[in-house]
Each structure stands twice: as structure tokens, then as C-alpha cells.
Symmetry: C2
Subunit: 674 residues, 2 copies
Amino acid sequence: MSPSTLKLSLLFFFFFFFFHIALLSHAFSHPLDPLAPPEITTVQTIVTSYISSSSTNEKVHFHYVGLDEPDKPTINSWLSSSTTSSSNLPPRQAFVIIRIGKQTRELEVDISNHSVVSNKLYNGNGSPTITSEEIDKSNDLPFKYPPFIASIEKRGLKLEEVVCGSCTIGWFGEKETSNRIVNVNCYYMDGTVNIYMRPIGGVVVMVDLDQMKVTGLRDRAIIPVPKAEGTDYRQEKEAAEEGEGRFRSSLEEKVTMQQDHPNFLLDGHLVRWENWEFHLAFDMRAGPIISLASIFDPEQDSYRRVLYKGFLSEMFVPYMDLTYEWYSRSFFDSGEYGGGLCTVPLQPLTDCPANAMFMDGYFPNQDGLPVKTPNVFCVFERDGQDILWRHTETGIPKRLITEVRKEKTLVVRTVLTLSNYDYIIDWEFKTTGVIKITVGATGLLEMRGTEYTHVDQIKEDVYGTLLAENSIGANHDHFLSFYLDLDIDGEANSFVKTKLETKRVNGNWSKRKSYWTPVSQTANTESEARIRVGSGDTQLVFINPNKKTKIGNNIGYRLYPGSNVGHLMSDDDYPQIRGDFSKYNVWVTPFNKSEIWAGGLYADRSHGDDTLAVWTERDREIKDKDIVLWYTLGFHHVPCQEDFPVMPTLNGVFELRPYNFFEHNPVLNAKNEL
Amino acid sequence: MSPSTLKLSLLFFFFFFFFHIALLSHAFSHPLDPLAPPEITTVQTIVTSYISSSSTNEKVHFHYVGLDEPDKPTINSWLSSSTTSSSNLPPRQAFVIIRIGKQTRELEVDISNHSVVSNKLYNGNGSPTITSEEIDKSNDLPFKYPPFIASIEKRGLKLEEVVCGSCTIGWFGEKETSNRIVNVNCYYMDGTVNIYMRPIGGVVVMVDLDQMKVTGLRDRAIIPVPKAEGTDYRQEKEAAEEGEGRFRSSLEEKVTMQQDHPNFLLDGHLVRWENWEFHLAFDMRAGPIISLASIFDPEQDSYRRVLYKGFLSEMFVPYMDLTYEWYSRSFFDSGEYGGGLCTVPLQPLTDCPANAMFMDGYFPNQDGLPVKTPNVFCVFERDGQDILWRHTETGIPKRLITEVRKEKTLVVRTVLTLSNYDYIIDWEFKTTGVIKITVGATGLLEMRGTEYTHVDQIKEDVYGTLLAENSIGANHDHFLSFYLDLDIDGEANSFVKTKLETKRVNGNWSKRKSYWTPVSQTANTESEARIRVGSGDTQLVFINPNKKTKIGNNIGYRLYPGSNVGHLMSDDDYPQIRGDFSKYNVWVTPFNKSEIWAGGLYADRSHGDDTLAVWTERDREIKDKDIVLWYTLGFHHVPCQEDFPVMPTLNGVFELRPYNFFEHNPVLNAKNEL
């Protein structure tokens, strides 16, 4: 570090220190808190200063800046410290990915002592998450590119009604993939804001993101642009007709009224509700991160850990459309576009109910300076009018006993909007100990223009469903990989598969001829833990092999898959190679700090060489170890007309439920609040 | 009919007429309305009069009395009549099953003209649903049977703390099964009301229901009775300590307040809410029956039929415990005990929210006279804080568009309590056209007493999980068969299975090597429609082959199975033979008025010769016909300690969703009510 840099650093240290204290003053701080805006600014200062001190004159682009979490022993030691407070926080460090001079670099930055701890050139395949600025700029380039303007004119379209969107192009066996190329596809407004219903087919513009210039255009066919009629989804026109503002005023009134009485506590990033406690953080790639989820056990008079860390690791969305502008669409939404970057501000009273509390999220822009997504999460108590448990006892003569307990749950909601699609991610905590994850898929389909106006005209495979005249909704999949570092009552866990096996009754000692009985097998290594879920004849339980209930059952949590699907592409197909985590719904790995992103850290144009599927080839031991469950939630989507022009939400769910974790029903003593 | 009977009939005709008019005056009448109390009384009069006119002096016991529905053409003609009103109701008829002189008889009774239309002796296997009076009396018999009293004394138990419950005994290949026998098993209170946690093991009393006397006792072993400690689930003790009535007062206040403003209309048995209309009736065997469910389509300016009739046809609950008192427990809850007979009154504010409206149910007692189950259904609008659809558009430069619509749904809830188990049956209607059926399993496990107090002592298959000292929760299944007479936009429907097939890309024209495409097959006959659902790679759609959307897609509804399981018992095992509808999750049959109960009309001690599995052996044509979907929802239950002493609700779900039924998203124009 040069003397001038040191001086600058000191200046920034004091600058940052002031802001940090200011931040701390209003909330409890936790070592897993995401980087606060002053910390992001500090990281930017440290890195730009560090880079400018080297020889290069190139501009630094920040592609990722996030908390470099302290390791588990540090966190656990901090948690068990009798003086757990902001004053003894472990050093704050950031993990940073930058692009400079067409190179990708990984830096570890120590925020607390203002230094770059490490600086590594990345030489592998794939590129980091695309920045929002790159997307905006690449979307704008076609409008300055004469051949594109000519293509639009040739189609008789008005250029001012055209908008463009950039698509990652994947990898199809090319040796050289260091160029960061996107395909820019364009859409037509002219009477609608539902741009995805009006694709301008047959023409695509290639853009190099590092050079930020057009590298080519292919205009292969003029395909009819579907009509605007019936595609708009906005209420505002109607509202204007009926009297503007009719909804808004009552909205705000209710928000104010009910937010005064939350049923849960937000203490900085810690959430406490009923018997649950967890930490909620925002990350520009993962979006919401739930950490240290623990449930209070009155019999042990303590919180017991269930989940050390959980988040959406990757979203793989391959389309099944082989036409030229479509075959490459096999998106890795989290890795290519950034799950957190794609979060959108939640709307009070519609995205979240009146009793919700909101949190903001912060991430760096391309220049490294903090940007805010307001209301990135909401947290609310849900009274879904369900029954927690009940019984009516009619079997005791002359008595009628009815006991019913209502269910309330706590929901943490986030919405990720990946261009057309909106994913509603709900983490739901139940007093019974259940953690339920629901992914709601809504938003707009990606449509392909076509000559066809009626199904009877179609004699070929059109890779989708005709949803309106000239509009095909393309067949596609969604595979979401959830990283779930379970710590079932402690770090060392095992994964037990229990098959319900039919047994024949031998001899005549019973009138029955068969029954089923559970036969359990503990998975020793990763290969024994890869499962495609189908029917529920196999139970999947994560146990703590070192702890038992008083009467001797293994303490555990059971994975309840909902309806789910598996991959259908060939093993040797390039998108499948890159997204091979879709091959199984269940994977279990030993905890490894570097294994976080199921599709690889550098997902854009990746070759699939740094993925969950590859890591597990080592077939490591997973018995009685700190293990991670990776759950792939899949959807096959063959669109139907009800999905046009906006899709009703379709939910995918799975749950983690206590399974001999407690000595008995933990909500036996629940009371109804009426 | 003798002259004296005729005179009596006329008298009763006037008597009934008066009551019927009184009934009609307070609500709209519909030909599918369940029998009203005066109608039940009239049936009782007609039948007892008819029977007494014959030579027998035996007492008549009524085992089933229900509406004998007019056939579809009559209903449709009434519906389309311009004068649809109570005045032109089709004749009211009842179907009646009685026992008299140890014989089962089926009668058709014409209520409108006071006559017995047919009277048939039933000579087949199996017996009708057991009456509540028979259960009460058989439960009481052991207390007057000295050998049982001796067995209780031998165990050192107090007789006054003992309660007993009757269990059907099934069929295990015996040739003679006309005797209506139950096994009476007993439980110990003495400090708890949770009787099922305190089984008195090793002793069972056999009772003949027709003779209503004990036919035997087997006391094979003294098994420890599990402790009462920790088993009670009542709040009342606590409430008494903290001040009685603390909850009640606020309860009633809220009910009054919110029931004044229902968001839906109950017009007699017709329910209208948003775009849905359906008829809701109570039947003593089926419980809730949903009929004529139709959804309004603004584009066609009319209601379009989805479901002609839907109800829970049978519940099969086989236990996997081969011990003497347990092997025969393979209950057909609907057929043996009566699904409707086992409904319980719903509790305002806990079973159903404050905005719920309630309906009562009526059924005959053993003597044929009407009995009321108050609050047997509740209907309420649910705001589950979910999102109907949303989109945030970030792709149009300089604009940010966010549109979100909240979801509200309508729920019809019923609770069936089969001794220990409570089933929450929710029929949920969504504005999107979705019909969602949720079965929540809660209540109490059936427990078996055991010597074991710790898992480490167990070296044999104990057919369950040790849940507390001396208490084993036995492994078991639940299979619920739903009868769903779909009429997708008309009666003639077909069942289309669409498999998503992987296709290889031949040649080098695409860089992709594979994709999937839907390949559809219409099921021609019943055998082609039997499906065990597993992964979601096969789509199951019911279409109207005679109607298409404007652009030519088949109008349809898709079955979305949730997580589900299949049977595991051997095909030749007796309980499996009787409950073979559990073999597949999906069955489709041509509509046949006599095929209603998946486990047979006479389920008690049935031989499995009148079941869904047998009917479909004819392999009838189901293409372009009025067809019925039978959906089997299964659970395997390996109990865990969290299920003790009362089980948190575990849900099973499935949905019917419009699939090219509408021209576009039917809730595009939905508005938020804030």
C-alpha cells in the first residue's frame, strides 16, 4: 500500500466509523448482518484505492459485494459469549468480485482494518453476474445500430415503441467463452405495457458486455408481432375512469394503523416470533438469507438450532424451443442476473398484508456505491384460517369435549422479478416447528411470435401452446435449488432414508397376509443421498445421531417434498450439463464454505465444471457430519390460455417438519388469541 | 297398499305438506337439497307404516336415509326451465336402507306422493353403516359382562374410569359374514380425557350388533396401560386457573359483528361467491356434497359447469399392526361408520373464522326420526395473504410498473371425527377457476400399550413408534377416495394423459441435443385411466372433446395432484381386496348411478366384490362420455413423538385447475378490495 493510499484509507476509516456507529445506534448488530451502505461504500473505497495503486488505468466494475461470513466456530462462539453485543463483533469482511481489463478478480476485503486481504485472478470458465447497468446499456444499444433500425423499419414498426431485453446465451460446447456476450431480443409496445406478449421475432442483436458494443445482428425472418389487444394488465386505466386514488387513501390508513402492533419483533436483522428466532439478511445474489433458525423448547429452556443457513442458490430455466432466437434460452437466473439484484420493492397491502413490516436491501451498483431496494422483504404473521390441531371427543359417555387451536404462522416474503417472470419466495415458520418454503410463479410468459392464428393450422412441433393469435407460449422448466445447511440440534447430522417395505406374513399365525414396515438406511456418502422424489413411500429424515429423545428416538427433522418434477433433457445436452443439479431433487453434501452456488459461482456461459453435480462426484462421507441439504424444486410448464396475458400464481412447496425433535407435540399448550 | 294404509298416507300427506311449505317459506328450494327434517319424518312414517302393514313384528332400524337424486336430465331441465322455482320441483324421493329381522332392505320412497316405490331384500355380502345407537349400546355392553369386569379387576383398574369403543372387524376370508360383529376395545381415563393414549391392551370383547349382546371375550395378556401424565389436551383447566370465560366473551362479539357482512350469498343450499355458484348438501354417509359447481364466464355471459357432483366416497384406514387386537383394524370409515354421521359441530372462531356462516345437517336416528348436527358446515371467505397474480415491469426505460392482485378464496369446511382421528375437509374455490381440496388429518393417534419404556429395549418389529413410555403409535395408512363427476363445460368429457417426452435432436441444425415435448393420449377405456401419481412428468387433463377455445385448444380442466402415496399391502391381503381403490390415485369411470361408494355400498364386513376396482374390470369406454374421476388421496403415517398426545394437522391436497377452459386469464380484471 502506497503512503498516499494509507492516508486515504485512514480518512475513509474515520468516515466509515462515524457512519457505522450511526447505523449501530438504531439497531442491534449481528455478525451475519449484510453489509450496510457505509460498509459498501468503504469496500468501494478500499478496492478502487487498492486497484488504482496498481498499474492499471482500467475502470473497476463491481459485480458482487457481499458479507464474507465469519466461520461457524466464530459465530457460535460469539453467540455463546456472555457479552454478545455489537462491541465484540468479529471482524467485518467482504467478498468482492470485480471486472477490470476484461479480467475477473476475487478480492477479500477486511472492512474493519481497511485492507485487501487477498486478490485473485479468476481464470476458469464462466463470468460473474451481469450488472444492472450492463443490462440497461446493452438493451439500449440496438437503437443506435443502423442494421437493427433497418430491421424494425422493414417490419413497419415504430422504433419509439420498441423496447429490448438482454438474454444470456449459455454455452454450447464452444472452447472460448471468455467474451461476455448477450443476445438482445426486442418487443413492441404500441398500445400495451405487456411487452413480452409482443415479441419482435426473427431478429436478434448480439452485444459484447465488456466492450459494450454490438457485435452482430441476425435477421432471419419476419414473424408477425402478436396483437396488443387484451394484453395489458394495469388497473390504472380503469382506476382513472372510476376516480383516481380510490384505493390509495384507504391503503395508507390501514398500514399506519396495524404496523403499530406487530406480533413479532424485528431487532435489526433478527426476527423473533412465538417460539422461533432467526436472522434475515439480504444478499445481491441470493436475495433473502435465513440464518441461525432456532426454535425454543420449553422443556430444555433453550433455543435449539434447526437451520444454520438457508437461501435460494440457483434458478435454472431452460426453454424447450429450438428456434434460432430461443434454443439458447436456458437461464441461470441467480447466477447470471443476481437473485438479489432482481428483487423488487414489495407493495404494502397487496404484496404483503396490512400487518407486515418491511426491510430494505442494499447492494452496490456497478461503481461499487450503495443502492437501496426499499421494502425488499416483508415479514408478517399469517392467520390463514387453518387449524393447528383439534379433537372432538364423542367416546366418553355423557360428555362432549371439543378442543380446537387456530394456526398462525410467520411469513418472510420476497419477490424476484426476472424480466417477465415474478417469483414469490415465502419462508414460513410455524409454531409446530415446521419451516415451509413456497415458491409462487407468476408474472408474464415469454412468448414467441408465429404465423399461426388457430391450432388447426399447426402441423409441426411448435414447442409450446398457441395462446392467442400469433402467440406461442413456449414450453419450459423452472428448477430452483435451495441451499439448506441444516444443523438439527447441533452441527453433526446424518441423512436417513426410510423405505416403507411390504412384508409378507409367513404361516397362519395371522389372518393378515401382508403389512408394511419402515426400513431405514443412513446415507454414508453423497451418492447415497441423491434422490428423485416421486411417491411418498420413502421418508427422508435428517437426524442428529448423537442425540436422542428421552425414550430413545433419534432427534430429527423430516423433509416433506410437495409435488415435484425432475429433469427431462438428455445428460449430454449443454444446458443440462450446466444445470445438472436438476437431475435430483435431493442432494446432501458435507459443508464446504466454497460450495454455495449449485450452478457455479460464475454461471454466465459456465461449462458446468463447478456445480453441485460435479462436487458430489467425489462421493464424500456425509454421515455424522455438518451436512447441507440441496433441494431442487421443479416445475414443467406447458402454458395454457389462462396464463395469458398474465399468469395466476402457481405454487411449489416443500417443508421441513420436526420428527422426534421434540419430546411431544410442541403446541399442545397453544392458546387461541381471539 | 291396504285401505287403512292409504288413509294413513293421506293424513301424513297433509301433515307433511304443511311442514314442507313452512320450510320452503324461509329459503329457496332446489331439487338437490338434502332431506329436510319433516321429509325425514315423512319417510320414517311411510316406511314404518309400510313395514307394519306386512306380517312382521320386528322393529325397523334405519341405517341410511338420503335424497334419491333426480337424474341429470331432470336436473338440467329444471335448471334450464324459465320458471325454476320451488313450485316445479321434481318429485322428492328418498333412498332408504333398513335392517329388520336380521335382513337388510333397500327401499325407494316417494315422499311427494307418500309411497314406497320399491322394496328390495339385499342378499349380498357386507352390511350397512352402523347406527350411532348401535355403537353407543355396544360400547356399554362390556360393563354388564362379568368376564370383562373380571379382566378389568385383574388389571387393578377402576371400572368407573373405563370407556369402550367399538371397532369393525373387516373380512378375512370367512364364508359367513352376515353376522354384524364388532370388537369392543377399551381405554382408561383416570386423570385424562385422552382415552386413546391409554388403551387397555390384551383384552377385547366381541359384540353381535343385531342381537346386541356380547358373544365372547378374549383376554390374552396383561399389557401395561400407558400413563395419563402429559396426555390431556384440554385448555379448560388452565382457563379455570386464569379466569373462566376469558375467551368466550370476545368470541361472540366478533361473530355478531362480522356475520352481518358476508361476502357471499347462501340462498338455501346454493352458494354464490364471486364468479362461482354451487349447491352444498349434507348426506349422512358422504358428509358434504358439492353439486353443480359452475363458474361465470363474462365473455360467454353465462355460468359454465365444472363439477356435477363431488364428495368423499370412502376412507380406508388400514393399520400395519399384526397383534391380535390390531390386525383386523382396516377401517372403511365412510361406509362402516358414516362420514356424515361422524361430522361434528364446528366451533365458531376456532374451527372457522369470524366471517364464517354455518349450516346445520339433518339425518335420521336409528328410529328414523330427524336429528340435527348444528354447524355441520361453515362457509367463509379466506384472505390467506397470498398473491393472485403480480408483475413488476422494469424493462421499459424510465418507467416502473407494478401490478399486484390479492387472492381471496371461498372455503367450505367440514370436520369428520372418526373416534380418535379428526379429518378437516376443505373445499376451496378460487376466482381463477381452481377447486382445491385439502384434507387435514389431526386429532389423536390410536395407541397400543407395550412393556417397552425405551427404544433400546426393542428387538422386534413393534409395528409402530414408541412415542412415550409403554405407548406405541401404530403405523397405518389413510386412503380417501373422492368422487368427482366432472362436467367440463358439458357432460361429455374425455381424459387426456400428456406425457412430457424427451426428444433427441438429430443432426447439427441446432446446438441443442434434446428438448421435451408433450405427447398426448386420450384414454379410451377405464384400464387406460388408472394412474399412480408420482413425479409431475405426466399431465392429467379432462377435456370436453366437443368444444374448443376460439383459437382451437381443447377446453379442459387439469388435475394437479399434490404429494401422494399408493398402497403397499399385497394384492391378496383381505383389507387390500376390500380397499383396492387405494391401488391407484386416479381412476376414471363412465357415470353410473349405482357406482357411488368406492369401497362398496355395504362396506362393513364386505368382501370387496362391489368396489371401484371391480366395476372398472369391465374396462368400459370413457371417451367422449359423461365420466367420473375418482381421486385417491393417500397418507402413510409412521408416527413421531410430535404426534403425541394430539397431532398437529398434516395436510394432503389436490387441485382441479382450468386448462384452456377460458380464453385467457379469468382474473385479469380482478380488483383489490382494501
